[in-house]
Symmetry: D2
Subunit: 116 residues, 4 copies
Amino acid sequence: MNDSIQALTQRIVAFRDARDWKQFHSPKELSVAIAAEAGELLQHFVWQSTEQSVQRAIDRKQEIASEMADVAILLMELADVLNVPLGEAVADKLARNEERYPADKARGSNKKYNEL
Amino acid sequence: MNDSIQALTQRIVAFRDARDWKQFHSPKELSVAIAAEAGELLQHFVWQSTEQSVQRAIDRKQEIASEMADVAILLMELADVLNVPLGEAVADKLARNEERYPADKARGSNKKYNEL
Amino acid sequence: MNDSIQALTQRIVAFRDARDWKQFHSPKELSVAIAAEAGELLQHFVWQSTEQSVQRAIDRKQEIASEMADVAILLMELADVLNVPLGEAVADKLARNEERYPADKARGSNKKYNEL
Amino acid sequence: MNDSIQALTQRIVAFRDARDWKQFHSPKELSVAIAAEAGELLQHFVWQSTEQSVQRAIDRKQEIASEMADVAILLMELADVLNVPLGEAVADKLARNEERYPADKARGSNKKYNEL
């Protein structure tokens, strides 16, 4: 399967346009939907210990993958609406994080870059 | 640039492992981080009308792209941790949505599939 | 009914302690649960226009009130755990917002205080 | 200080009306704002262990109390807009949770009621 973000985005946009849904999918509405779907993903792990969350992720893999797909689809659609090449945005952010979190300083630490 | 999810995921995992961060990145913690970043994305559009959100998305494109990249990076890392092929999960969800939202029934409607 | 935050908090803490749940309810876990419940509340309004959301809030009043109660309960419990007098925190924030958003400057505007 | 929800709500509504903000504060918009503020609260605890979160909550008490106040203010305003008596909704939910989570069955367990 071609899992390039560009190819997936084309399928997502075709799906949306076949339903004439662009009118509902403003940047704001897409961001609202992303937050709501991220909340559904989070719901799986409320009150769980780290160990329990690992087991739950195995037991509920299909459901969790489906929530993740929802977030991914909305994110790719938002990127398309905003003319943001999402793959490049990811690469840019990784480059910025390389600077913010130098490997030798950040190794084994869960501190934020401005607290390192 | 190769924007396949698989290629991007390799870069993300390499970044994480160079910092020995896997210990902090359980499925639960990644889901918490995704929700927090989705909240930052949403923050841009609070109280805005649809029209204002379109303009804001143009004015703050770099910042917004950066929040989107954060969500995308965490999502690809979570998919890797859970052994979920994210591109396939997206394709599966689109197929399921094709059934839930038949184009002729869903056209121009913002109703949920169970209310169509 | 006595709807003081203090009185409600006593009932919430008694409920929690009768179940020996304090061990699970760290500040982090309570914040995770609040975000997840806020996501459920948001879910009701995804893709809805403002007008539709007004109607939906009427049609689903019980369900929505139940989501709101979840957020409120968790918030009061978090305040108790952190020794934050929530009523005072609300009063303090309103006082701060009086300064940030002077009525004559903020009237009819949906701008953030740092953009007024 | 009178920390009844009703008294606090009166102050919140007076603040809003002095700024003519009701036009922006539909049920949907208030729910969006609640989710965004819950995200800010969550942001404090991302990647933190339970123990770290306890310490952070002490170190950042003022900031965290301020985020909590934001959520509380918006929630009380939403309750007012929807004509939901929030104190009663909390009491109702506690009563429902008494049934869902009988103390002898739920003691020391972090399972959901439908998994108990």
